[in-house]
């Protein structure tokens, strides 16, 4: 197990470029959680996220010869984001009442990992809070959602977010600012879900 994870991405990429499927699959395993989570948060539906993630890895495999270097992870996340966008468009087209069904699914989405971790009440609280956040995220415009997810959920720096989204630093800044502004409102509207907000609420007064 240690072996495939030791070499840096660059090494695995060059091996993959030479035709090693094993090397590529090592990259897949290394990044699949990040890719899947990005898709999941962007789409709000686990099945859609699964499809998008698989498509993303296939596209990455296909496009590998054109990978020019730099951060493989950023490149991969960019592909995943594009795949998610496509998937979203596809699903919207499929069902006329897309937005409605999407919202229904959303509310259930964060409960997705039912056996994720044993934590009883704390987990439940977090799930509720996560559900509210996820719901709010899905109401953001795609670009803002993408920026917030990459920055806050995936922990990318602004310049990395810019690289992944193919936009300027200034654009990233304003998208994050606007996206978070809306999320903040949601959090303040549901203070019971977030014990942190109680503190904030008190502070506000």
């Amino acid at each position: 197990m240690a072996d495939p994870f030791d070499p840096p991405d660059e090494r695995l990429v060059s091996l993959s470029k030479d035709g090693s499927l094993g090397a590529f699959n090592s990259l897949v395993e290394r990044h699949q959680t990040a890719v899947y989570n990005l898709c999941l948060r962007l789409l709000g539906q686990s099945q859609a996220a699964e499809d998008a993630a698989q498509e993303a890895f296939l596209s990455a495999f296909r496009a590998l010869p054109s990978f020019a270097g730099g951060s493989f992870r950023s490149w991969l996340l960019r592909i995943a984001a594009n795949e998610s966008k496509d998937e979203l468009r596809r699903r919207r087209r499929k069902d006329a009442s897309a937005s409605l069904s999407l919202m229904y699914d959303n509310t259930e989405l964060p409960l997705e990992p039912p056996d994720a971790a044993p934590g009883a009440e704390l987990l439940y609280e977090r799930k509720e809070a996560a559900a509210a956040i996820q719901h709010a995220l899905l109401e953001l415009p795609f670009d803002q959602r993408q920026a917030v997810i990459l920055c806050d959920l995936q922990g990318l720096a602004y310049d990395e977010v810019a690289r992944v989204t193919g936009s300027s630093l200034g654009t990233v800044k304003s998208r994050i600012h606007r996206g978070r502004g809306r999320l903040r409102k949601v959090v303040l509207k549901n203070p019971e879900l977030f014990d942190v907000t109680r503190r904030l609420d008190g502070g506000e007064r």
Binding site: V35, L58, F61, I133, D152, H177, R199, E204
Partner: protein
């Protein structure tokens, strides 16, 4: 305390805008220091910073969901992807081919329109000439001995014109225009556009047009008034030069000519031809420009698509 007053009075939009970048540590060091100083003195902004930090904490605490399954590619998937990537490569070639084809078609269309333009301008000028000149035609045509043959019927000329025009039209315009005294004013305008045509048949053609009745279709009406050598000049430039020619030539003698075709044989001919043709030239030129634009856009769009692939 003195410092606190301006801070609190100051609109906080600017700070609010920087808030998230500040919390994320994405401000430049000087910006960050300034923000720090502000937060230290502004309770409102300090509260907002707390808010933002709390939200970040909430967002960061969003559980990372483990992948429901492995997304490893099976060898079959890899092969399929490789096979699929071949067609992916193909489309990039197709657009190029299509782009070339589209460009070719557009160029062909341009050429056709251009040819048509010449023909139609020839016939149209004849037609326009014929209508107003119906009465005057006999006089002016009779005057022009050489042209007389072609003049027999204004409409007939139009029919003849097409065959003769392609060869004749370009030739007369350049050489005679420059040489003829009446055209002097015109030469300046005529030269730039005329230049391309001149090389085709400079001197040899020019003489032919003057004497040759065949050329008359276009040139005969104007040729009559001026002179066998110079006569060719005014009409000939029309196919290409009409627009520039019209105004410049008009200054000298054309303006009055239009209405008074019958009155002055020399002047009317040039005036009418130029005015009539320039009217025709606008739409045809617009058409040319439109086609060129379409060709350009098609090429650009396809090139972009290709790049994307």
């Amino acid at each position: 305390m003195l410092m606190a007053i301006p801070w609190s009075v100051r609109p906080h939009g600017r700070w609010r805008k920087q808030l998230d970048a500040y919390v994320d540590g994405e401000l430049t060091p000087p910006e960050h220091a300034r923000f720090d100083a502000h937060v230290a003195s502004c309770a409102r902004c300090a509260r907002q910073v707390e808010d933002a930090r709390a939200l970040n904490a909430i967002l960061r605490s969003m559980p990372e969901v483990p992948a429901p399954r492995s997304f490893r590619l099976t060898p079959e998937m890899a092969n399929q992807a490789r096979a699929a990537s071949a067609p992916v490569a193909r489309p990039s070639r197709v657009p190029l081919f299509v782009a070339q084809l589209a460009t070719g078609v557009a160029v062909a269309a341009l050429a056709t329109v251009f040819a048509f333009d010449r023909l139609s301008s020839g016939s149209s000028s004849n037609g326009t000439l014929a209508a107003p000149r119906a009465a005057s035609a006999p006089q002016s045509q009779a005057a022009s001995g050489a042209a007389g043959a072609a003049d027999s019927g204004g409409t007939k000329q139009a029919l003849e014109a097409p065959s003769s025009t392609p060869a004749d039209t370009p030739t007369p315009s350049p050489t005679p225009g420059v040489a003829s005294p009446s055209a002097i004013g015109v030469t300046g305008a005529g030269l730039p556009s005329a230049t391309p045509t001149t090389p085709l048949s400079p001197t040899p053609v020019a003489p032919a047009t003057g004497p040759g009745p065949s050329a008359t279709g276009e040139s005969s009406p104007p040729a009559v008034p001026t002179a066998p050598p110079g006569a060719g000049t005014p009409p000939t430039p029309s196919p290409h030069e009409e627009a520039p020619f019209g105004p410049s030539g008009g200054n000298g003698s054309t303006t009055p000519l239009v209405p008074g075709l019958a009155q002055t044989p020399l002047a009317p001919a040039t005036g009418t031809t130029s005015s009539g043709r320039s009217d025709w030239f606008v739409p045809t030129e617009a058409g040319l420009a439109g086609l060129a634009a379409i060709a350009l856009i098609t090429t650009i769009v396809l090139a972009r698509r290709r790049r994307r692939n």
